[in-house]
Symmetry: C2
Subunit: 118 residues, 2 copies
């Protein structure tokens, strides 16, 4: 008892955490627990997270900067800054940056972490 | 099968969702599932979420606008826009707006929802 109280507060900055790579989309992790991943996805123009699904976890995308094409189920929608979309468990989902120049960053919460991952 | 695929995409805007009340802090919910709450907490100057804890769920605060005093365990820290803090399960936590004039809004993810709530 008490150990967790003396551990320093875990904090992060969703802008400062951003990292981009010419190779592929970067997932910059801020927090990871047994209950959630709290990541910033960073996509150069043309980069994408391919559409996939997880049986038992929900995901929420929130655009921080740029424009996202978000796919959930059979629906595709363009989202801008401050707009969020829910991908319920079991529903195929993905995000891509279709912009010609502008980078895309999105806060992505996944809960719980997909099976087989820590 | 398939029903969930034909349901329209659930989206929300973390700025447009904000509502403030002179009476007390407002929790504006964007998404709610059996796995998470995805809320924007809206605090007028002087308003606070009192320090409390949940045994089995994690919470992450992310400041959208204004300045927050976040308490986690025995530690208190001031966070500004784009700064996030993790409140691990079982650790007392709270947020307050100590600013004299400026409103505070924060994206708050709670996973899973506290027991006894939907």
């Amino acid at each position: 008892m008490g150990a967790v109280y003396t551990r320093s507060m875990q904090t992060g900055n969703v802008r400062a955490a951003q990292k981009f790579s010419a190779d592929k989309m970067v997932k910059a992790n801020l927090f990871q627990t047994e209950r959630l991943y709290y990541d910033v996805y960073c996509l150069e123009p043309g980069q994408a997270q391919k559409v996939h699904s997880h049986a038992g976890c929900d995901k929420v995308y929130l655009v921080l900067a740029g424009r996202a094409i978000v796919t959930i189920g059979t629906e595709e929608r363009e989202l801008g800054p401050d707009e969020a979309a829910l991908a319920p468990a079991g529903v195929p989902h993905g995000i891509r940056n279709a912009a010609p120049v502008e980078r895309l960053s999105a806060l992505v919460v996944t809960t719980p972490p997909p099976e087989g991952k820590p």
